[in-house]
């Protein structure tokens, strides 16, 4: 029997024993235990070390707000750091380790930081480490030297580097009513809404539905509240229109009633089933949200309140009633409100001695006095705890008389022997989601709490209603009544007068005394994890950091993993007192997503391990099977080279380009953007979007076109084919296909709705193969049927229809390589058939397949531009494409393209570059007039693309250079300090090869 496990009670399965380890030591617990409850049952009191002072810490809470007991869960090499032990359900083989301690939790060397004490106050780092003004440690060096050690001392858990093997998934859900929280209010709301026929989702972050019913010890409808909850859940389970999501934290409330939730699907299992995700990310679009999120109990701020053994009273009640674990044998309570008295009775019933109830109030009601006697506890009204004793576990406490009005202590100190001190500083509704939705909380002076606002304050696009402790009604009877009412309201049902479940009335006044801090000697913690003390808050006040945001940022109050769930209100209260203002005038922070920390893998969801889809051309598998090395271009994969054994990339592309220019080559151009432009006004649209004229283009002909942006800069280029009077096939660059499509759609929809034109992406409809070279026509002639391909039938920029291997194809004679070349288009499903037929037909001619490198090489030789030159900063003139700017008609960009900044003489213009030292150039190398390798300066421009030109036998490049054409024939230098490439170059025309185009015109 574990030392602290009760004989009976709790909702654990005592027949099932679970084995796990913590910091290497083996332990056992029961099914239904959390790591926290199981370790507590084993007598463990020390769970973690605090962030700054490395103080020993035990459990403060039993739920999601736990700030101290953070552990790392290990699954083999895979680490999950900073998990609250209270949220880890134990399973056989669970391995958990403590954090932020060296060498061990019990003996942590960094605890020496505590000696720093008052120096390590808020703002410490800002005031020192500036270092010397002169010498080797001037500038930032001294700080960076210190920072090295500070960083290693800071931080909580250690992240892993082994890739997480788990699966994450997204689920899109829609419902009429989403209920967050499954306590009595949430259950009633779910039941009421479901009974109306609404689509309901009920989510709770705990493993078991029921909320406070699971530990309150109350009676509902004559049965234990926990059994009532079970029964209600059973009724919901049978409903087709209800989805129950246990272990699901609704963490974000976004616009349009979109809520984000995290379901921990297999975290509590030893192994996941096949295909089962570790966590599932629910994106829920809800008609109405019912917030039944309950409330948090607040700690009290007093010296020694962080000692292991000091715990929240309701948390202890949960350990007793839900897990069958007593936090101690001799329990003292310290409270400013009535709720702790019920807890005292529970502890007594579970077999502990309740040695004292220390209540800051003098006027304790008779009902509470009765409960105190029922618990056989000494009631110390008008008293306060002023110190705690013990090392890594509590041994006792000191109390003194206390005046709640003035906060003054008086009389003799008295010591009380206890191994557990349970505190209750009042309750704060869990308003985080409402706050995320934009609601501004209102301070309720009676409840001493921020309550959700009235509905009128809500953002108009968020639909939520609240019920239960969330609204500040802290009794179960209120929760049940409100829950049903809002459930009906959310589902559009009528108000019901049917009887409600009967709750045995829990006595007590929900209003606490406005006491947050006991000022006595010693460190009193407000933010436990971050070691922010009441004195730190007062120091912030003295230094003028008085607004709530300054307080947070200066002291780090509320910035720890619990995000202020424990510290927010006490911190505000202490600042308010220092300022002499009421709490609401200090303000409250707006809560932002997430409510609790969310694993990054779960947010990546199905994209973890699969960031982007792969886009493949119809001939992709052929390329792979035939030695292509693939290049990732946007989402596409394209052959870069078809390397032979032992070839370098340069050798391969030179071979491919050479063979193309000498005989013939073929390249897959299926990735080019293709847009069907159809309708009576198709030609008119093209005249407006292209700088040159298309309405004059004959059917069966193609034309090269240039588009500008509205601001007059170059946008995209490509050929457009006129397939019919009202039907064009526009091609775009691969990279800009989507942008051009949106550009056309925008103008058709928004600017020129009168034009009757349909634009459709047909990129994927067509497989494209470009075949070029002196023998290209002969190859086509040998395999194309149904049409001739001679110069008369298929002139430059002409289009014919025919068949290859029986498959219908469309052939356009156009050239990017500068050779006699043709683009052969076929239905994508036949792409490989046609490709293979062309390869076969090309065999007698030594046809080569070539990739992007050779394609790029031939285009550089021709001086054609691509995205490297049309980079969003260049104009048509910069690229010497001004011959394409029609003067006969306006077009997109025509009015803006001649502004002063776009026609200046110092603009970068396209030129050709030849390396005079016969060494390779690099893309991104700069061009200078004077070479200065030590202090490069005076950049004239840069290289946009480069290659070894087999046609010229030289290393050449295209470049954008100031002065442009005026520099043709002059010498300059390439200056590429990043790759240590310096050397002489000649600037020439960008048209290196066959400038008059005789080869392609044939």
């Amino acid at each position: 029997m574990s030392p602290r496990r009760t004989e009976i009670g709790g909702r654990i399965d005592r027949l099932r024993t679970i084995r796990f380890t913590f910091d290497g030591a083996p332990y056992t617990g029961h099914a239904g235990d959390t790591l926290a409850s199981a370790l507590l049952a084993n007598g463990v009191t020390l769970f973690g070390r605090s962030f700054k002072y490395h103080r020993p810490r035990g459990l403060l809470a039993a739920g999601v707000e736990e700030p101290n007991a953070l552990v790392t869960v290990l699954r083999g090499e895979v680490r999950e750091p900073n998990i609250a032990a209270t949220m880890v359900e134990i399973y056989d083989g669970l391995v958990a380790v403590s954090q932020n301690r060296t060498p061990s939790l019990a003996w942590d060397i960094s605890a020496i930081n505590q000696l720093g004490g008052k120096i390590l106050s808020a703002g410490f780092y800002y005031k020192t480490f500036m270092g010397p003004v002169i010498g080797p440690l001037k500038g930032t060096r001294f700080w960076m030297f210190c920072e090295h050690f500070i960083r290693r001392a800071a931080g909580l858990g250690k992240a892993g580097t082994a890739p997480d093997p788990a699966r994450y998934e997204r689920m899109n859900a829609f419902c009429d009513v989403l209920i967050v929280g499954s306590g009595p209010a949430g259950l009633m709301a779910a039941k009421a809404a479901a009974d109306q026929g609404a689509r309901v989702i009920l989510a709770d972050l705990e493993a078991n539905f029921g909320g406070s019913a699971n530990w309150s010890g109350e009676t509902i409808d004559g049965m234990p509240a926990a059994d009532w909850a079970l029964r209600t859940v059973g009724q919901l389970e049978g409903n087709d229109n209800v989805r129950l999501l246990p272990r699901t934290t609704v963490w974000g409330y976004y616009d349009g009633n979109t809520l984000a939730a995290l379901e921990r699907v297999t975290d509590h299992k030893e192994v996941a089933a096949k295909g089962e995700p570790r966590q599932r990310y629910w994106a829920i679009r809800a008609g109405t949200v019912v917030l039944a999120t309950g409330s948090f109990e607040r700690p009290l701020v007093f010296p020694g309140n962080d000692r292991p053994g000091v715990m929240l009273a309701h948390a202890a009640e949960r350990y007793v009633n839900e897990y069958g674990v007593l936090p101690g044998q001799r329990i003292a309570l310290f409270t400013n409100n009535d709720s702790a008295y019920r807890s005292a009775v529970a502890f007594k019933k579970a077999g502990a001695a309740v040695v004292a109830i220390v209540d800051v109030r003098s006027d304790v009601s008779n009902e509470m006095r009765r409960l105190a006697s029922e618990a056989e506890a000494e009631l110390l009204a008008a008293h306060a705890v002023i110190a705690t004793e013990g090392g890594k576990g509590l041994t006792g406490l000191k109390v003194q008389r206390f005046d709640a009005m003035s906060g003054a202590l008086s009389g003799d100190e008295r010591s009380i022997h206890a191994d557990s001190l349970l505190m209750s500083g009042g309750w704060s509704p869990t308003i985080h989601l409402a706050s995320q939705a934009g609601a501004k909380a209102e301070w309720d002076p009676a409840r001493q709490a921020f309550l959700p606002p009235k509905p009128t304050q809500r953002w108009p696009n968020q639909q939520w209603v609240g019920a239960g402790a969330f609204t500040g009604g802290f009794s179960t009877a209120e929760a049940i009544a409100e829950g049903r009412a809002v459930g009906l309201q959310a589902a559009g049902g009528a108000v019901s007068s049917a009887p409600l479940p009967v709750v045995e009335v829990a006595p007590g006044d929900p209003d606490p005394a406005p006491v947050f801090e006991i000022k006595a000697k010693g460190k009193s913690f407000v933010d436990f994890q971050h070691d922010v003390t009441a004195e730190d808050v007062r120091l912030a006040h003295r230094e003028g950091f008085v607004s709530v945001e300054h307080l947070k940022r200066y002291t780090t109050l509320g910035m720890a993993t619990d995000q202020g769930k424990n510290s927010n209100v006490p911190g505000l209260a202490i600042m308010a007192e220092a300022l002499g203002k009421p709490i609401p005038e200090v303000g409250t922070t707006r809560f932002r997503p997430p409510y609790t920390a969310v694993s990054i893998g779960s947010l990546a969801a199905e994209r973890f391990g699969d960031l982007k889809p792969e886009r493949l051309t119809p001939m992709h598998d052929w390329h792979l099977a035939n030695g292509a090395r693939m290049y990732s271009a946007g989402l596409w994969y394209r052959p870069m080279i078809y390397g032979l054994a032992g070839e370098t990339v340069e050798q391969a592309y030179v071979r491919e380009a050479k063979a193309t220019r000498e005989s013939a080559g073929i390249v897959d151009v299926s990735t080019l953007g293709k847009i069907a432009v159809q309708g009576p006004d198709a030609a008119e649209l093209l005249d407006r979007v292209y700088t040159n004229m298309f309405s004059t283009l004959a059917v069966g002909k193609a034309r090269y076109g240039l588009m500008l942006r509205e601001d007059g800069l170059a946008f995209d280029d490509g050929t457009t084919w006129r397939l019919g009077d009202q039907e064009f096939l526009m091609t775009t660059t691969t990279a800009n296909a989507g942008k051009v499509m949106q550009h056309l759609e925008y103008f058709l929809d928004v600017i020129w709705p009168e034009l009757k034109v349909t634009v459709t992406s047909v990129t994927d409809e067509w497989a494209g193969a470009a075949i070029g070279g002196p023998n290209a026509r002969a190859i086509l002639a040998s395999c194309v049927t149904g049409t001739a391909v001679d110069n008369a039938t298929l002139p430059f920029m002409g289009i014919v229809h025919g068949r290859i291997a029986g498959i219908p194809v469309m052939i356009c004679r156009l050239s990017f390589s500068g050779e006699m070349a043709f683009e052969v288009y076929s239905g994508a499903g036949y792409g490989t058939h046609v490709w293979e037929a062309l390869i076969e037909a090309g065999k007698p001619f030594g046809l080569v397949t070539y990739g992007l490198e050779a394609l790029g090489t031939m285009r550089i030789e021709k001086g054609h531009v691509t995205g490297a030159e049309i980079d969003g900063r260049t104009t048509a003139r910069d690229l010497h494409l001004d011959w394409m700017l029609s003067k006969k008609k306006p077009f997109i960009g025509s009015a803006m393209m001649d502004r002063e900044g776009l026609i200046g003489s110092d603009r970068l213009e396209l030129v050709g570059v030849i390396a005079l030292d016969n060494r390779a150039l690099n893309g991104g190398g700069h061009i200078v007039e004077e070479l200065d390798e030590a202090n490069p300066h005076g950049s004239l421009g840069h290289i946009t693309a480069c290659c070894y030109s087999p046609a010229l036998g030289k290393y050449i490049a295209l470049a954008l250079v100031k002065g442009g054409k005026a520099r043709h024939g002059t010498r300059a230098f390439v200056s590429d300090p990043l790759r240590n490439r310096f050397g002489p170059i000649e600037i020439v025309s960008n048209h290196f090869y066959d400038p008059d185009g005789s080869r392609m015109h044939g």
């Binding site: 020192t128 960083r151 931080g155 960031l611 271009a633 601001d711 980079d871 190398g925």
Partner: protein, 419 residues
């Protein structure tokens, strides 16, 4: 006011930290000033600081509608770098970098500027060339930049997936070693304290509600704390620029206000020792001294003043993060927030006199404002004091859009969400 030092810390500790004084005064506004700076964020405060320090103009008020530093200076991902493509930007940001390097001494306030480098990952050969172009451009202006091999990257950031099997394998990167991070709030507080020590009045909870005019000239402002006159009125209000300009009767600006989300993880032992960016999406990450991973991505992509983001961007940023760091999938996002970005039509800022007589404008920081804080204030102070721009901010005029003198580092044109 006392200097901050290790000695002052020790002395105060011995007296129970009872003697610390406010970091800056909380004065009531005077009837008139030589210069009013609207906006108590990083840029406004640094402007006031340099007006006093560099130009001896100390009769200055900084007006802040909320609490000091409540805007983007306390809502950013703290990266400091000068790794731009275009020379106008590089020169300006490099000037900022030099001010950063001595800022803690200058302010007697540790802004924790940590020069741990900024590494842009490249994933295709074309991208590597593109980065080389930028790195070389920097080197030709005397700014540090180097290309990093995959091996060096792996050693620098062991948690990074540099395997060839990644969807977008890392092929190398562009490193600026002098880049880094700073503690954002400390920058606001340090400048505030520095300006205050030189006599500047920093007036919080003072919202400008209108402008006072004499003919066409701006002569002061009306505020929630009364009328305040000034010889010169300078705006440094970032995302609120459009709103404040409307008070001056200027309804249209080359600016859209967008929301940018940022994220921080739970605190971890050191795992990312530099500022890292992903090349096949939009993602950047660093780790704070407290151990939280600080990261972000794209704008949400629509006009917003809400300082609240939407889910798709959250998902996108996280997806890119675990694509780079598949070992960090179980690390948890702790906090998210939204900042308001004044996005211009070319992605570059505006620091200029005008557009009305007596008015000076500093805006359009897109999401690069934090690293600009020192140079922005320095150049703005120069422009205010001398009524002409310094050469560093001379290109950043308001009329450059009309004139076509655009400074478009990303080449995206007049689509602010893409800058």
């Amino acid at each position: 006011m006392a200097e901050y030092s290790a000695f002052s810390l020790l002395k105060n500790a011995l007296t129970g930290n009872k003697d610390w004084k406010p970091a800056w005064r909380k004065p009531d506004p005077k009837a008139s000033y030589d210069v009013i700076v609207i906006g108590g964020g990083g840029h406004g405060l640094s402007t006031a600081y340099y007006l006093a320090k560099e130009h001896g103009i100390t009769n200055v008020a900084v007006l802040e509608k909320g609490w000091l530093g409540s805007g983007n200076v306390g809502r950013n991902t703290t990266a400091v770098r000068s790794n731009y493509l275009l020379p106008q930007n590089t020169r300006f940001y490099e000037h900022s970098m030099k001010l950063w390097e001595n800022l803690s001494h200058d302010l007697n306030y540790n802004v924790m500027f940590s020069q741990r480098g900024c590494l842009n990952l490249a994933h295709t050969p074309a991208q590597l060339d593109d980065y080389a172009r930028r790195g070389n451009a920097m080197r030709h202006l005397g700014v540090d930049a180097e290309l990093m091999s995959v091996d060096r990257i792996k050693r620098l950031v062991p948690a990074l997936d540099v395997s060839g099997s990644a969807r977008f394998p890392v092929l190398g990167g562009l490193m600026q070693p002098r880049a880094g991070t700073a503690r954002h709030d400390a920058v606001a507080w340090g400048y505030a304290r520095g300006a205050d020590r030189r006599g500047v009045d920093i007036i919080e909870n003072c919202e400008v509600t209108g402008f006072l005019r004499d003919g066409g000239r701006i002569t002061g402002v009306t505020t929630t704390r009364g009328e305040i006159r000034a010889k010169k009125v300078a705006l440094a209000v970032a995302g609120s620029t459009g709103q404040v300009m409307q008070l001056a009767g200027i309804s249209h600006m080359p600016i859209e206000s967008h929301v940018l989300q940022a994220f921080v993880s739970e605190s971890l032992k050191p795992v990312v020792d530099t500022v890292l960016t992903f090349g096949m999406g939009h993602f950047y990450i660093s780790q704070s001294d407290k151990g939280g991973l600080v990261y972000g991505g794209d704008l949400d992509g629509y006009n917003s003043y809400a300082q609240r983001g939407s889910l798709p961007i959250v998902d996108e940023v996280m997806s890119e993060m675990v694509a780079l760091f598949p070992g960090l999938a179980r690390v948890r996002m702790l906090r998210s927030w939204g900042g308001l970005c004044d996005m211009t039509m070319d992605g570059s800022p505006i620091i200029a006199a005008g557009p009305l007589p007596g008015m000076y404008l500093n805006c359009g920081w897109c999401y690069g404002g934090f690293k600009a804080t020192p140079a922005s204030g320095w150049c703005f102070a120069y422009t205010i004091a001398k009524d002409e721009p310094h050469e560093f901010n001379a290109p950043f005029t308001l009329d450059r859009f009309y004139r076509g003198l655009i400074i478009d580092d990303k080449g995206q044109g007049a689509t602010p969400r893409l800058h």
